[in-house]
Amino acid sequence: MKSLLSVDSLKLSEIQEIIDSTYSMYDVLSREIKKLPTLRGKVISLMFFEPSTRTRISFEIASKLLSADIVNFSPSGSSVEKGENLLDTANTILSLGADLIVVRHSREGVPWFIFERLKIPVVNAGDGKNEHPTQALLDLFTMMKHKSVKNLSEFRNVQVSIVGDILHSRVARSNIKLLSKIGARVILVSAYTTLYQNLPEGVKVKNFIDNDVLSSDFIIALRLQRERHGNAFYPSEREYFEFWGVKQDLVEKAKGLLIMHPGPMNMGVEIDQTVAYSENSLIFDQVKNGVAVRMAVLYYLLTKGRLD
């Protein structure tokens, strides 16, 4: 593994290794001096063609804590505004000496394109509606840490329900793949307007949050991606909240159910603010764990990955 483009290419042993390493990084983060010298002399370029807070900043902190130098690229203020195409832009970054590129783009497949043409490690930080593998890894780590398990085999049969706009969610797509791969029980809850065909074997589909869903260990509420489709897939926010919103009364009914959300949240649409800020919420944990996971991924790709 020289790149992390998709969850598809991750072997179980690699996932385990990244989780192990994330645990170590997590410990580093609680030290007084957090910095490691591991990636000194490496240049990481963060190419974010789409807005991002959590993902971009956590990659930036992760790189810095590993002592890599970073080059931040964003289309505004760059030659992209003068009409430079994607390949030329990426090549320019490469010529300037990047060792690894972290890329986010609104179009599906962009990370593959860059990896194939530039032949340097690429991390997919979200491509359109397709994948967001580091989010899936940090979600998995968050859940494992919460359950105090370190070995993937101990996570088998944990039940995770993913609720909402599955079709437009790269977070959902990566999570479905990763969780199925390690043998967790996955339930998708969505209207047929935002489901897709050919799901991995064993993934259950439901239209509404029922008792089966509420008996899950974790619920991942998804962001309603209004910016991607307007209201063409759901009629209105009030109807979405009524039927797919993760609400306080539901969480109260369930015992020990924990709530996650990749952020940014639409309060009162996919999640009730009472739930988001409650003790059943792991939402802010997720953000913190994101740094540790990204440290592990960057470390893996720029050291071990090369030894493959």
Partner: protein, 435 residues
């Protein structure tokens, strides 16, 4: 399951000695209705009860469930309001009706469905099942709030009066309706292809803008393809084109993952375009009255079960709009008042179908398709029954219509078969004046 909205409170009644017709057969027996529900169907029921009807010489049918009905409220209650519409329905043997949402404003929100419910609970005789607009403002672009409207009591969704024009919105409508177990009722018409009269007799003789079968066929074809893609429930309403009915027959045979059903209207079975006079707009309707050949194909499709239901498409219009030149007059026929008698007289008496088949088309199948506990005279079903005198002959005159719309092509029809009682929720809601 909400059983439609009506102002008629549940009541008790005993019907003695009528010939009971169900889709699967007939028998002579008594019918006891208690608290609005059929309690017993057997010979020689003796019970002291508020109301007893002597049914001898009459036939008892499960009340008709008319899955395509226009009431002009909100927007134009002077054309037809819930009271006049449901009274004309009861008069015509219709005990449940699906109210189409092409009112002004269209019924595209839970608030408007709630408005209809409240009105119906005060004013309706027949049960009113509102059908929600499939898209916002019935514009054919964005799906509306099916879930919230379902909570207020919609039975299905449709953009009737138009197709769901955007193919993408149609896909999403089928998917979203399926999520809530709802059916999408489609009025198949490509407005860029349609006109004022069937392409043929009238358009050749008078140069009227043609409305070819193709205007219906292209949408029926698209919808069948999208039903298969989505696995949704598609109901094609007022099918008029012979080509369309052939596509539907084929689709029903081939496509197993989706439920595709259809209805036709009485007028497309009774008339053909050669019956239309340019000066009589009472046969101007959308879709238009088609050729003899199309009519023949619809009848064949009834006989081989391609057609699931017959629905009135009751569309009342005021005189000042309808008494106009052919092109200017709005399409639509006021057809509720004699719905069951006309079908009985024109289809059953003339030997096209037997009366059990008629019950299947106007009661049994609609109840099954839309999950209404009716459509049969049997224990446990709701007490909605029509008693018909099968031998009574008479001429239909304009003053017999309870509908505010007098735009009926059946005026001056000589027919055989008269509704004597319409019973809803175990209560007589219409009784013929036999003096």
């Amino acid at each position: 399951m909400k059983k439609g909205f009506t102002s008629v409170p549940p009541s008790n009644i005993l019907i003695k000695g009528a010939e009971i017709i169900n889709a699967n057969g007939r028998k002579k027996a008594d019918i006891l209705i208690e608290n609005g529900v059929i309690k017993e169907v057997s010979v020689g029921i003796r019970r002291k009860i508020d109301v007893e009807i002597n049914g001898s010489g009459l036939i008892a049918l499960p009340g008709a469930i008319d899955i395509h009905f226009h009431i002009r409220e909100p927007g134009a209650p002077y054309e037809e309001d819930i009271e006049s519409g449901t009274l004309s329905a009861a008069h015509g043997g219709i005990t449940s009706l699906f109210m189409m949402p092409n009112t002004k404003p269209p019924l595209d929100s839970p608030e408007l469905i709630s408005f209809i419910r409240q009105k119906a609970e005060k004013k309706a005789l027949s049960r009113v099942f509102p059908v929600g607009a499939a898209t916002e403002k019935r514009e054919g672009k964005k799906i509306s709030e099916y879930g919230l409207m379902l909570r207020e009591g919609i039975i299905a969704v449709t953009d009737d009066g138009s197709s769901i024009s955007s193919s993408f919105a149609m896909r999403k409508s089928l998917e979203y309706a399926k999520t809530f177990g709802l059916t999408v009722i489609e009025h198949a018409e490509d407005k860029e292809l349609s006109g004022d009269a069937n392409e043929g007799y009238l358009t050749q003789n008078y140069g009227i803008t043609p409305y070819p079968n193709a205007a219906e066929d292209v949408i029926v074809a698209r919808d069948i393809i999208l039903a298969e893609l989505t696995g949704g429930n598609l109901h094609l309403t007022h099918v008029s084109s012979g080509n369309s009915i052939e596509m539907i027959r084929e689709a029903k045979r081939k496509i197993k993952n989706a439920r595709i059903t259809c209805d036709v209207t009485p007028h497309h079975l009774i008339f053909c375009d050669e019956d239309i006079q340019i000066t009589n707009t009472n046969l101007k309707v959308n879709p238009p009255i088609r050729s003899k050949r199309d009519r023949q194909k619809l009848i064949e499709a009834i006989l081989d079960n391609t057609v699931d239901a017959i629905a009135s498409d009751h569309a009342p219009h005021p005189r000042f709009l309808k008494e106009n030149d052919f092109v200017s007059a709005p399409p639509g026929i006021s057809s509720a008042d004699f719905f069951v008698p006309i079908l009985y007289s024109e289809l059953v008496q003339k030997g096209l179908i037997n009366i059990e088949k008629l019950v299947e088309l106007i009661s049994f199948n609609p109840a099954m398709l839309f999950g209404i506990p009716a459509g049969q005279i049997a224990e446990g079903k709701i007490g909605d029954i029509v008693l018909l005198d099968p031998d009574k002959e008479y001429n239909i005159t304009k003053d017999m219509l309870y509908s505010k719309g007098k735009n009926s092509p059946y005026i001056n029809f000589k027919i055989k078969g008269k509704v004597i009682y319409t019973i809803i929720n175990g209560k007589v809601c219409y009784q013929a004046d036999l003096t």
